[in-house]
Each structure stands twice: as C-alpha cells, then as structure tokens.
C-alpha cells in the first residue's frame, strides 16, 4: 500500500495502534493476520522515519512591542470585544 505523504504522525500512530490491537485480538484468518502485520510494519517504518528526521522549527511573529500606549489600548479593547 502506498502512503500519502500528507498523513500526520498522529494519524499514522493511531492506525498502528489500531492495527496492533486488531492483531492482538487474535482469531483472525491467517491471511488477514499476515496482511495486518505487513501493514503494521510499514507504519512502524514510516513513524520511525518521521521521528528520526524531526527537527524543531522556530518562527517568530512580527514583534509588536509598541511603546505607544494609545495603540495598545486599542488592541486591548478590540481583543475584549472579540472575546466571549
């Protein structure tokens, strides 16, 4: 089975959990058990690859360290209007 690249770590991990759980439940036809095992192994490889190649990305939003009190007051009231 080919793996779409855009699946998240979590999606793959959940599928692995589900696959392992199904296998553990036992009493499957041998063919089905082998198919699940093969799929699980693919998932393990894929997850390991993601973990291995992970590198923290850091981004900084445009600084808004305003010294102008008036602008900040506006921000404040706008924020609260947008709140609950």
């Amino acid at each position: 089975m080919s793996e779409p690249e855009n699946r998240t770590f979590e999606e793959l991990y959940r599928e692995l959990e589900e696959t392992a759980k199904q296998l553990e439940r036992g009493n499957l036809p041998l063919e089905e058990a082998l198919r699940l095992y093969e799929r699980g192994t693919e998932l393990v490889d894929r997850l390991r690859e993601i973990l291995r190649s992970a590198e923290l990305r850091v981004q900084q939003l445009h600084a808004r360290l305003a010294s102008d009190e008036t602008e900040l007051r506006e921000v404040e009231s706008e924020y609260q209007a947008g709140g609950r």
Partner: protein, 393 residues
C-alpha cells in the same frame, strides 16, 4: 414643580447611586461595629472611622463563612445603594477581609473569589491537549531565559513540533496590553495546537500582569488550550488558575504539554513486538490445526478401507447386473432382426419375383393389368438390378 411621593424620591436617589461606576465597584476601609447575623443568615454591620459610618450587609451567599466582631479593621468591597424602607445609605458587600493582609492581597483575593464563582477555574472546562502537537505557540519575552529553556526542552523532547513565538513584555506597565496583543496575534496562526504563556523566573517577582482580570478573561476565552509556566514557586497566579494546564516553570510547561520522543519510540517498538508475537501466535494456531487434521485423517483410514471394499463389491454387482441385461436385450434384438429381414422385398426378388414400375405418365408401381396401356414404358426391378421394358400393343 409638583411634590414627589417619598418612594419616588428615594428610588431616584438609589438609581443615581447605582448608576455611578465608582460606587458600584468600591473598596472601603474601616472599623466594624454592631455585627449581627439574621435568621436568614445575612450579616448586618456598620463600618466607621472617627468621622462617619455606613450601614453594611453581607448577604448569606457572599463569603458565607466569614464572621467579624466589633473593633475589627477591614477592607470591604461592594456597591453603594439605598435601603428604601428605611431611607438608609447601604454598602452591599461581597467581600471583607482584615486590613492586616494589605489592600493588594485583599483585591487579589476578591478577584479570585469572583472569577471562581463565575466558573473560570472549573476543572470541567479545562481542555485536553493533543497527544502529538504539531504547532505550539509561545507567548513570552523574545530575550528572556524562558524562550531559551522552552526551545531547548522542546528540541530534545518533541522536535516534531513547530514553535511559534509571539514576543511580549511580561513585566511592567505595558505587560498587560502587550500580552493581550501577543495572544491575539498568536490566535490568528492557523493550526495552533495550544499556547504556552511563560516568564523566566526573575529575581523580583512581578507577577501583577498574571493576576490581572483582563489576562484571566483572555485566557478563558482563548480559542486553543493555554499552558502557563510563569517561573514562581509561591501561590498560583490567577492566570495559572484559569489556564488549561499549569506548570511552575517554562521548562515544566513544555514537559507537561508534550510527549517525550524517546517514550513514543519505545511505545512503537512495543507495538512492533506485540504484532510480531500475534502473527507468530496465528501461525502456530494454523500449524496446530493442520496437525490435528492429519491426525484425524489417519484415525479414519481403516474405516475408509472398509468402505472402499464395500463400494467395490457394490460396483461389481451393478456391473454383473448390467451385463445380464445387455445379453438379454441382444437376443431380443437378433430375433427381431430376423423377422425384419423376412419382410425385406429384396429377399423376395431373390426368389424370382420382380417389381414393375410404370415410368411414363405418372410413375407408379404396377399392381394390375389395368394399370398399363400399350406403349407405356416400364422399369423392371429384379434381385440384382433393373431393366427397361415397353408394353406391346
């Protein structure tokens, strides 16, 4: 101007007082006198100083456990109104505390109580964090120790995530509006899993911004869960109480809100082992089935031999029976053939008879002298062939 009824005058004055912003949210300091508790559980008393006094009430539902005595000096928070039946000025209190704790502490406690009553700290409304976060917002100073700690811990713990820093002041007069702006900007980032509000443990603990009601409400209303790591060991701030998850330091905030990549790797290895064991179990089970099947077959073999002999005997019997039937039928067919043979016209011809056919006019077998006239062409069939003839005149 016409005369007002008393009730109209009193309620006019009451409306004036109640409409006043200062009087509807006011702190008073004074000495308690005439403390009494009514049957219904309301507490009535006066607050006074050397020049004035005001009647106060603390209703049953406000701080139900508080008891004061005459001579106590307290801070009281409440709203000013008029008790119409007696035409008396009244401070309806919702909070009282001994003056000794200080006004700042009293105010903080009043805010805490009020927000708690409103449900901002409810455990039930705390939102769960995703198991494997992908995008984590951090609201803190761009230059402080907090962001260094957070980046370091996140890099080693869960580098799958993306960290988005929304820089802000965390101390000083601009801290509150700055924090609000940073929170708002961060909230616009799509796909944010949660936000960490952090502050490095400074020397002087200026936590005022994190005890501010505006920040508390902003955290409560935030579109994604909020984690606090404000670097202080003492009482929790209001922000900590409202946050979905609280940690004492920025590093701890990351540790409590993210999975550990080593632990996740272990878990994957575990599942791999489980799957391998399961598949082995399935294989073993099928092997056992095949073995059991062949045992059963072997056990059944004598019975099969016996059955085969019976079948062979049966087949033999059927065959004999069929052969008998065929022989009888053959005899019948042969006698029938003899009879058929005797009716064969060619056998008659062999004995010297002939078949005469008229060829002219309408061809027909000639069975009578009246069937021919002179000149008719005839065909005469004998045993070994035919010849032509003509009827003479």
């Amino acid at each position: 101007m016409r005369a007002l009824p008393v009730s109209a005058l009193v309620s006019f004055v009451r409306d004036l007082l109640e409409a006043n912003e200062i009087l509807s949210d006011v702190w008073v300091v004074g000495e308690v006198s005439n403390w009494t508790r009514s049957q219904a559980g309301h507490r009535y008393f006066s607050l006074k100083d050397d020049q004035a006094r005001i009647d106060c009430v603390l209703f049953r539902t406000s701080m139900p456990n508080v008891t004061l005595k005459s001579g106590d000096r307290v801070f009281a928070h409440g709203r000013v109104t008029v008790y119409a039946q007696q035409g008396r000025l009244q401070l309806v209190c919702d909070f009282v505390r001994p003056e000794g704790i200080g006004l700042e502490a009293a105010k903080l406690e009043e805010l805490r109580l009020r927000l708690e009553r409103e449900g901002l700290f409810d455990q039930a409304r705390k939102r769960p964090l995703p198991a494997f976060p992908r995008r984590i917002g951090v609201i803190t100073s761009a230059t402080g120790a907090a962001i260094q700690d957070i980046t370091r811990v996140l890099r080693s713990r869960w580098p799958l995530a993306e960290l988005i820093l929304a820089p802000t002041f965390v101390q000083g007069d601009l801290a509150v509006p700055n924090l609000l702006a940073a929170m708002r900007d961060l909230a616009r980032v799509p796909g944010l899993d949660f936000a960490i509000i952090a502050r490095g443990g400074g020397a002087a603990e200026d936590l005022a911004a994190f005890n501010d009601e505006r920040i508390a409400r902003a955290i409560f209303a935030y579109p994604v869960p909020v984690v606090t790591g404000l670097g202080h060991e003492r009482d929790r701030t209001i922000a900590d109480l409202v946050a979905d998850l609280w940690a004492p330091t920025p590093s701890a905030a990351v540790e409590r809100s993210t999975p550990d990549i080593r632990e996740v790797g272990r878990r994957i290895r575990q599942m791999e082992g489980l799957m391998r064991a399961s598949v082995r179990h399935h294989l073993a089970r099928d092997a056992r089935r095949v073995t059991a099947g062949s045992h059963r077959l072997r056990a059944a073999a004598p019975r099969i031999d016996r059955t085969a002999a019976e079948v062979a005997a049966l087949v033999h019997g059927i065959r004999e029976q069929m052969l008998g039937t065929v022989a009888r039928q053959r005899t019948a067919v042969e006698s029938l053939a003899a009879r058929v043979d005797s009716m064969n016209p060619h056998a008659v011809l062999a004995r010297g008879y002939a078949i005469v056919e008229r060829r002219s006019r309408t061809p027909a077998v000639v069975r009578s002298v009246t069937a021919v006239i002179p000149g008719d062409e005839l065909s005469v069939g004998v045993a070994d062939g035919t010849f032509r003839a003509e009827v003479v005149p």
